[in-house]
């Protein structure tokens, strides 16, 4: 298995791009397996933030001076890069947000509030992150709409037949996670979009986990919205993008008012700016958006296919090695999954395992992963989750599996 990595990638060279990986934690070399929570950042991204603040920090869009011009250009360059990164039809369809949660809240408030009526239905799945549940619950409560949920099977997959059954003439919004953060399952969002459109519902894709692990082509997926976060794809925290089809974005009414988003303001009436600006009220997170471009370029420089091949090899290896751990139970064994391995171990509480792994320098996540309904479905409080990224190695997984065996031995 140790040779099962994509031949093109020099992982040791890639690791040198991530300064944080050089450190020791609790006296042991850091093994970072909490990538589904947030990935580490390459120095290209870190440097871009410093360069912005050291070289051309200025408020964007209206300033006439040179720094403002430079900052505006860098900010809008990032939009252009993301337009290509997700293959949007137009640059203006890319809105900068604080992240996926912010993007979904924007849809719920700017689309949902305008178009949902009493008795309308919103369809999600049982594996959604709280950020793709709660905004819909809030708007459903306000508008008298109904939230319906597609169940998951024992492998952590949904069935298209179930989705088709649950989409009715009343369904106005279908919102599905592309890649599950707790299970790794990749959902057939393209097929779900077809089913949604057949009933004239809009299709929202929660792409928080997918953007660094899956091919993202919003025109091919034919989704109406795609929300994602920068920090899960080697970019900074606190910034992300929301893609929306132009025709739909233009019909929507902004829910946050302020500077930037207006065309003309008088005390009698305000007219809104064009898309995307009408959804970008206030001074945005300029430095991080500028740096986010470098994250997308970093992914492209390695090649997403190469990244995916490496991560798939790591995931297969992890399943194989972890199967040796006595009393282990996997959650999320879908045919199509990203590099997330979620599990419990008999007689070992996830919190204990997490802390004991930390003592060995291994960072994993334990708990419900913001998917409590999914944990309830499986009848568990939480799992131990290891999630891999391009800089992880087979050797790290070997050490992880051996460490878990040691931990289990301490409890037996």
């Amino acid at each position: 298995m140790s040779t099962a990595v994509a031949p093109k990638l020099d992982i040791q060279k890639i690791r040198k791009d991530f300064p944080i990986l050089e450190q020791k934690v609790n006296g042991k070399p850091l093994i970072y397996f909490d990538n589904a929570a947030t990935t580490q950042k390459p120095k290209q991204v870190i440097d871009a933030i410093s360069e912005y603040y050291e070289g051309y920090n200025a408020n964007i869009h209206r300033g006439l001076h040179s720094l403002a011009e430079k900052a505006t250009t860098a900010f809008e360059d990032s939009r252009k890069v993301f337009h290509k990164f997700i293959n949007a039809a137009e640059v203006e369809e890319v809105i900068f947000t604080r992240g996926t949660t912010d993007g979904i809240n924007l849809i719920a408030n700017a689309y949902g509030r305008k178009f949902l009526q009493k008795g309308d239905e919103i369809l999600i799945t049982a594996m959604e992150h709280h950020s793709n549940i709660v905004p819909w619950q809030m708007i459903a409560e306000e508008k008298g709409a109904i939230l319906k949920v597609v169940p998951v099977n024992a492998k952590g997959e949904i069935s298209l037949d179930e989705v088709e059954k649950l989409i009715t003439d009343k369904t106005k919004i279908v919102s599905v996670v592309y890649a599950s953060n707790s299970l790794g399952t990749v959902n057939p969002v393209k097929e779900i979009a077809k089913l949604a459109h057949a009933k004239n519902a809009v299709m929202v894709v929660d792409g928080a986990q997918a953007s660094s692990h899956c091919k993202v082509d919003v025109q091919d997926l034919d989704c109406d919205f795609y929300a994602t976060s920068g920090h899960k794809m080697y970019g900074p925290t606190g910034c992300g993008i929301l893609y929306g089809k132009r025709a739909i974005l233009e019909e929507m009414t902004p829910y946050q008012g302020g500077g930037e988003m207006i065309n003309n303001v008088s005390f009698e009436k305000t007219t809104y700016n064009d898309i995307p600006y009408k959804f970008e009220a206030g001074t945005p997170n300029i430095a991080d958006v500028v740096a986010l471009k470098h994250a997308a370029e970093y992914i492209d420089s390695i090649g997403k296919d190469n990244i995916m091949a490496h991560e798939q090899a790591l995931t297969r290896n992890a399943h194989k090695r972890l199967s040796e751990v006595p009393g282990i139970h996997f959650y999320g064994t879908a045919e199509d999954k990203v590099s997330v391995v979620s599990f419990t171990i008999d007689n070992v509480h996830p919190y204990d395992a997490g802390m004991m792994l930390d003592a060995k320098g291994i960072a994993v996540r334990t708990g419900h992963h913001c998917t409590q309904p999914l944990m309830d479905h499986f009848g568990i409080e939480g799992t131990i989750r290891a999630s891999f990224s391009v800089y992880n190695t087979i050797e790290e997984i070997d050490f992880f599996a051996d460490s878990l065996k040691d931990i289990v031995a301490k409890f037996s």
């Binding site: 509480h349 919190y351 204990d352 004991m356 003592a359």
Partner: protein
């Protein structure tokens, strides 16, 4: 003096931890061992009312008063947290109400608890201490009212 007993026990724990030399794995191992030594808590006491609020893990803690001394029982659903609560029980068990109420638990700082269990667990640990002091205060008030 019984207060010295509390401090003697604290000093023993500080001594034990100092021998672990800041090694996180050894400290966790030591805590788990301590938790295993904690007398079993009857299932009937593991009620919602006896759960210490503010802990990430489930921690049950009860106190009984006998002859002016407090007797604690505790358990947790995680081994490390059980070790943490057992530290408190071993130090404060059979302490007089006033001693428990006024105990200066300097061992927490001395062993660098915050550093090795992290902020969230430290907050949980402080919640356990607070709960113990609340029990002591409640029994003090009860006994004073009865007197």
């Amino acid at each position: 003096m019984a207060d010295n007993t509390i401090n003697t026990k604290q000093d023993e724990i500080i001594e034990q931890f100092s021998m672990l030399d800041g090694d996180m794995e050894m400290m966790i191992g030591y805590l788990i061992e301590l938790g295993e030594k904690l007398p079993e808590m009857p299932e009937s006491l593991k009620t919602e009312d006896n759960i210490v609020k503010g802990c990430q893990s489930k921690v049950w803690l009860t106190a009984e008063e006998n002859d002016g001394k407090l007797h604690f029982q505790a358990d947790s659903n995680t081994a490390i947290t059980k070790g943490l609560v057992s530290l408190l029980v071993s130090i404060l068990n059979n302490g007089k109400i006033d001693e428990v109420l006024n105990a200066d638990l300097y061992f927490v700082h001395k062993i660098g608890m915050n550093r090795f269990i992290g902020t969230q667990r430290s907050n949980g640990f402080l919640s356990m201490i607070k709960q113990i002091k609340m029990y002591a205060l409640a029994y003090k008030t009860k006994l004073e009212n009865e007197a």
